[in-house]
């Protein structure tokens, strides 16, 4: 303990004992904060205090000095806890650095290529609510066809990240003849069920656009329904199909349905971070999403996705409570 610290402490306390002014307490408290930064333990503070009192009031009775010794003894474990705290903070910082690296690795591993198919215009927004995104998008491109998996991992952090890399490589391994929505979900379900612990589930919507006959076929593993906008009638219909969440049951089967797309039609697939947007007045209605999409029905798909993101995130002051993902497949008006 540098003697200088003790001298300053004595001066501040001396002034306080004479004047009882708030200013001295303020100065003293700012001073005590520097103690903590210098890792001076609380028992040291008592000792500094005792020394200062001995110098200022040597006439005091012995009981006072003894009582300070007792107090020092009482403070030792407080001092230990404090030092444990400082080491824990350093540990926490190391974990943070590790998480940053992991996020970067995950981003590179999980990146997916937007499809280029004649006559299909694609838009995508995927915004994480916290550091790691628990929504996952995977595009699979064939000749004259384009598929997308929109998934939401229930569960967070590192296990969820590992889970997504598993989905990605599962998809990468798909053979071409297995790429129908119901087959894809069945295969991925088996992989997930085998690899993942019971507390982790994944909802997934898988949609495939076949450019040959302008058909969109889809299957769903407990995921939010998609929205199909019919340009001719100007109306929306929900696209939903029966199926359990991935990872619940090995031999789950998935319903597959399909719909024809006309020029100007679009299909919006999303996660519950979109549909369960929560404002101060509560959750928004599905009609609201439809209205927002209808406003921009003539824009390119990417602008449509950006527009709905800014509208809904704005309602929450851009503080998302869940990961937000929307994918738009729009059939071009001109056949290229």
């Amino acid at each position: 303990m540098p003697q200088e610290v003790g001298r300053q402490y004595k001066e501040i306390m001396k002034k306080y004992l004479e004047s009882h002014s708030e200013e001295d307490l303020y100065v003293g408290q700012q001073f005590s904060r520097r103690f903590i930064e210098k890792e001076i333990a609380p028992e040291d503070v008592i000792s500094i205090h005792k020394t200062a009192m001995i110098e200022l009031h040597p006439e005091l009775r012995n009981e006072v000095w003894d009582s300070f010794d007792f107090l020092i003894e009482m403070m030792i474990h407080y001092g230990l806890t404090l030092r444990e705290h400082q080491s824990l903070i350093r540990k926490q910082e190391a974990i943070q650095i590790e998480m940053d690296v992991a996020t970067k690795v995950q981003d590179t591993i999980l990146k997916t290529k937007m499809p280029i198919v004649d006559g299909l215009d694609v838009g995508l927004v995927s915004q994480p609510a916290r550091q790691m995104n628990g929504d996952y998008i995977y595009f699979l491109n064939g000749q004259n066809e384009s598929s997308v998996a929109v998934a939401d991992v229930i569960g967070k952090g590192i296990p969820a990240a590992l889970c997504m890399s598993m989905i990605k490589y599962g998809m990468d391994g798909l053979e071409n003849d297995n790429s129908n929505p119901r087959n894809v979900l069945e295969i991925i379900n088996r992989i997930v069920e085998k690899s993942v612990d019971d507390s982790m589930f994944i909802s997934m919507f898988y949609g495939k656009y076949d450019g040959e006959n302008a058909t969109f076929s889809y299957a769903s593993a407990g995921h939010e329904p998609a929205l199909h906008f019919n340009a001719k009638t100007g109306t929306f219909s929900e696209l939903d199909a029966k199926g359990l969440l991935l990872g619940v049951k090995t031999d789950a089967v998935y319903e597959e349905r399909s719909v024809m797309m006309q020029d100007g039609d679009f299909i919006a697939m999303m996660t519950d971070g979109v549909t369960e947007t929560r404002t101060e007045e509560g959750f928004i209605e599905m009609e609201m999403i439809q209205e927002i999409l209808a406003e921009v029905q003539d824009e390119p798909a990417q602008q449509m996705a950006d527009h709905i993101y800014h509208k809904l995130a704005g309602l929450q002051n851009y503080r998302l409570s869940d990961d937000f993902t929307i994918v738009i497949f729009k059939k071009g008006t001109e056949k290229v």
Partner: protein, 133 residues
């Protein structure tokens, strides 16, 4: 009708004035020595943040009652730059080592209730209440 008094924070001395006001009010309200010191420290932190980051602002102190409970409410407001990343400022460890002092999590712990409203460019209002138990 609530009793209410305030101190404008412009210079560092105003921090001391706000502390003094807070301690007096806490004492009058019947808080013990330790809680007086905690309330005063919370005011000190809030006033210091105003002085350091917003330039100027105001600390108001109110006596409040709620459902038979009696307490003291601190309102710290400024028209400063606002808090960019509220989530980060409320994180433990983030502020104690840096310039914000005991920072927001500290003030929150010293008091019983705590609320921040902040918009970048439009200033910050922090409300914190301590109840007499």
């Amino acid at each position: 009708m609530n009793y209410r008094s305030s101190v404008d924070i412009i210079t560092e001395w105003d921090i001391v004035a706000a502390r003094q006001l807070g301690r007096n009010e806490a004492k009058k309200a019947g808080f013990g020595t330790v809680d007086q010191a905690r309330i005063t420290t919370a005011i000190s932190e809030l006033a210091r943040n105003i002085y350091l980051y917003a330039g100027k602002g105001r600390i108001e102190i109110e006596r409040v009652t709620d459902d038979g409970m009696f307490g003291i409410k601190i309102v710290a407001s400024d028209d400063g730059p606002g808090i960019q990343d509220l989530r980060k400022v409320m994180e433990d460890g983030y502020t104690t080592s840096g310039g914000l002092g005991a920072g927001m999590p500290g003030v929150k712990r010293l008091m019983d209730e705590f609320k921040v409203i902040s918009e970048p460019g439009k200033g910050t209002t922090i409300t914190a209440t301590k109840w007499l138990h």
